[in-house]
């Protein structure tokens, strides 16, 4: 049964390609188009993952495949006004703002502002036209097509975030990237294709902010490639707050060079089915990688985080902390893969996953996956699943605080380890606010 459905999903998306191609005008001669056409072949051949696939054991994507989504380029959706986006933005700090609507660059909504010389922040389509050489060697060079979702993104890749920070450049203000997804009638497929290149000795902070506008079902299927060159520092925040009817799949593939630092923050609130693959390859020595994750789910939400750190070289460290709060009938999946290859002596790798279940029917499948081939390494991992602590709740209530508020305090306390690692101070309080809003719980604000 499911095979037929999956095949028809492939057929559906392959069949839309001609219409898509017609929309490209002059763009069908760019190097990007060769990439698309190759991916189209993959899209016809590769099957969408099923639960028989070990990597997708706990995540059933059938509900995504049952619907015929229309790639954003060939679908219709309402125009968004500048005033409308304000409510979705993180505020109280300075940033360069770039906005995508259904994955397509919306210049009129963006306020990129002044950028230091040589820095590029823009939409992929524009950059492909104007600066093809700056990206042609990078795009699609890191991310392999692992499954039909990746092929689907690549075949329809047209726009997405491009950030290029040249050697030695420190971008002072973070880049806030709003991916707003919206539609009136069509079931829209949004396929942002993101590329971040942080040159040698450069530093950049990017906040990707995925939001749903309205309650129409849509599907975000994203690929993000990140190059962290020698000595570079990249802080990459992903805050996913799609609407509850939507589907969200992102694959991040990063590569790090000597002495570089990559901090990935992965905060998930929305979506009916969410799947994140966060992969980093250590391509030289003295590299640091930090993964921080927080996933909240309620109702029937399903959120799956698969992380992977490929320790291929010696003297590197990785540190991972993923925490989840699951309510109602929601379901979480965490799979933390760490490979320490034979050469990777003196590796330090730490991983922790902690989940709190707020209801009797919420569930989590958590699995560390450590494959260690070097002998001189320090690795540790741990996974805990529990409930809000009764003794702590009693302590708080014994001060006159009602039970609901006491629980909120404990939720905030639990999320704090992750929230506290965020370097942009105003973001912390806004995320705390989103936690309570999302869990439909009384808010605790740290204010006097």
């Amino acid at each position: 049964m499911s095979n037929i459905e999956h095949k028809s999903a492939n057929e559906w998306y392959v069949s839309r390609f001609r219409t898509f191609e017609d929309k490209l005008n002059g763009q069908s001669k760019s190097f990007l188009h060769d990439i698309r056409k190759n991916a189209l072949v993959n899209l016809a051949e590769l099957s969408f993952p099923t639960n028989r696939n070990e990597e997708w054991k706990y995540t059933n994507v059938t509900p995504i495949l049952k619907q015929n989504f229309i790639p954003a380029m060939i679908s219709t959706f309402p125009k968004i006004k500048k005033e409308e986006i304000k409510q979705f933005l993180f505020k109280d700090f300075d940033y360069h703002l770039i906005v995508f609507v259904n994955g397509l660059f919306a210049e009129e909504l963006s306020t990129i502002g002044n950028l230091p010389k040589g820095v590029i922040v823009g939409g992929l389509n524009r950059v492909t036209k104007n600066n093809p050489d700056s990206i042609s060697k990078y795009i699609n060079n890191l991310s392999k097509i692992d499954n039909a979702f990746n092929a689907l993104n690549t075949a329809y890749s047209y726009d997405g975030l491009v950030v290029i920070v040249p050697e030695g450049m420190i971008l002072e203000k973070p880049i806030q990237v709003l991916f707003l997804n919206t539609s009136k009638d069509d079931l829209v497929l949004s396929v942002p294709r993101n590329l971040i290149i942080a040159g040698k000795n450069s530093q950049v902070s990017v906040i990707t902010n995925y939001r749903g506008y309205g309650n129409k079902t849509y599907f975000s299927n994203i690929i993000t490639e990140v190059y962290v060159e020698e000595n570079a520092i990249v802080d990459f925040y992903k805050i996913q707050n799609e609407n509850d009817e939507s589907f969200h799949i992102e694959k991040v593939q990063a590569i790090q060079k000597k002495n570089s630092v990559f901090n990935h923050y992965n905060i998930n609130f929305g979506g009916a089915i969410v799947r994140n693959d966060i992969n980093t390859l250590h391509d030289d020595q003295n590299i640091e990688t930090h993964y921080y994750g927080l996933y909240l789910a309620h109702g029937k939400q399903h959120v799956d985080n698969h992380t992977f750190i490929d320790h291929a070289k010696p003297n590197c460290m990785s540190n991972e902390l993923y925490k989840g709060i699951l309510d109602d009938n929601s379901r979480g999946v965490f799979n933390g893969k760490i490979i320490v290859r034979k050469d990777a002596q003196k590796t330090n790798a730490y991983q922790q996953n902690k989940t709190i279940l707020l209801s009797k029917t919420a569930t989590i499948d958590t699995k560390p996956q450590l494959e260690i081939f070097a002998d001189d390494v320090k690795c540790s991992h741990g996974a805990t699943v529990g409930h809000l602590d009764d003794t702590s709740e009693f302590y708080i209530r014994s001060r006159g605080v009602p039970q609901e508020l006491a629980k909120s305090m404990l939720i905030r306390a639990f999320a704090n380890d992750v929230i506290d690692t965020i370097k942009i101070e105003p973001l912390k309080e806004q995320l705390n606010h989103m936690i309570f809003e999302h869990l439909h719980r009384v808010e605790i604000e740290n204010k006097v």
Partner: protein, 254 residues
């Protein structure tokens, strides 16, 4: 103020309190002493409403109201306060947020207006000074990274902030150095007045030199086996608990 009659309570199905009777009047300070595991913290937890402790028999009236019928937050709003033997850490919640939330809940219940931010901050400064606490403590997360002694001091700070009518101190002296003990006791004595009352659980006479009790009770195996004035504490310090136990054992035998 507090009237405990024939109180029995279980933990994990095991009977820990086996019929406690105790009358505490407004303005009084009572001390409870007794060996480890005799049920002192259990009594404190039962009075505060910890639901891991199951009351199987007896009544507790607090200013004439049925205390056992109230949830922990209502007891606090009625004016009960427990300084915990092991205070809890709450990362991500500042002392200010915590106390402001608690204080406003208590005030709301008693039909009082919320404190203005200025009133609140003034009160904090005031009370922090009494206990020799640094003002910066207020922006730190509740008990996170506090030393054992600091946690105890913070309990008393909370007491001063919330102004309860009836205070239970569960081994607030343990883990305090000599100076801290003096400061904490001073905090309690400043707060002590004819309109409130205290039940002080301790192992040591030392604390009772500072906080002078009106009555001393000995709790053993879930029962109050002896009560007296403050001189009883001195006697216990000198002779331990065995002499009472033996005596009681003999009376039971007879």
């Amino acid at each position: 103020m507090l009237s405990i009659k024939n109180l029995h309570a279980n933990v994990d199905g095991k009977e820990i309190l086996k019929g406690i009777n105790l009358e505490i009047k407004t303005g009084e300070v009572h001390a409870i002493m007794g060996p480890n595991g005799s049920g002192k913290s259990t009594l404190a937890n039962v009075l505060t409403g910890n639901k891991s402790y199951e009351v199987t028999n007896g009544t507790v009236l607090f200013e004439g109201k049925d205390l056992l019928d109230m949830d922990p937050e209502t007891r606090a709003r009625e004016g009960l306060f427990l300084a915990f033997q092991y205070p809890i850490e709450i990362p991500g919640i500042s002392n200010a947020t915590f106390l402001k939330t608690a204080l406003n809940e208590i005030r709301k219940y008693n039909n009082l207006a919320e404190l203005t931010p200025k009133e609140f901050l003034d009160r904090i400064k005031d009370k922090a000074k009494v206990l020799g606490l640094d003002d910066t403590l207020i922006s730190r997360a509740v008990n996170v990274g506090f030393s054992g002694g600091e946690k105890k001091r913070n309990e008393i700070f909370q007491m001063l902030m919330l102004e309860p009518k009836f205070v239970l101190l569960d081994e607030t002296d343990s883990g305090l150095d000599i100076d801290a003990l003096r400061i904490v006791s001073n905090g309690v004595n400043i707060y002590r007045n004819p309109n409130n009352a205290f039940l002080v659980v301790t192992h040591y006479q030392r604390l009772l030199n500072y906080i002078q009790p009106d009555f001393v009770h000995v709790l053993s195996k879930g029962r109050i086996i002896k009560s007296g004035g403050k001189e009883l504490a001195l006697e216990l310090e000198e002779k331990g608990y065995d002499w009472i136990k033996t005596k009681e054992f003999e009376t039971e035998k007879v």
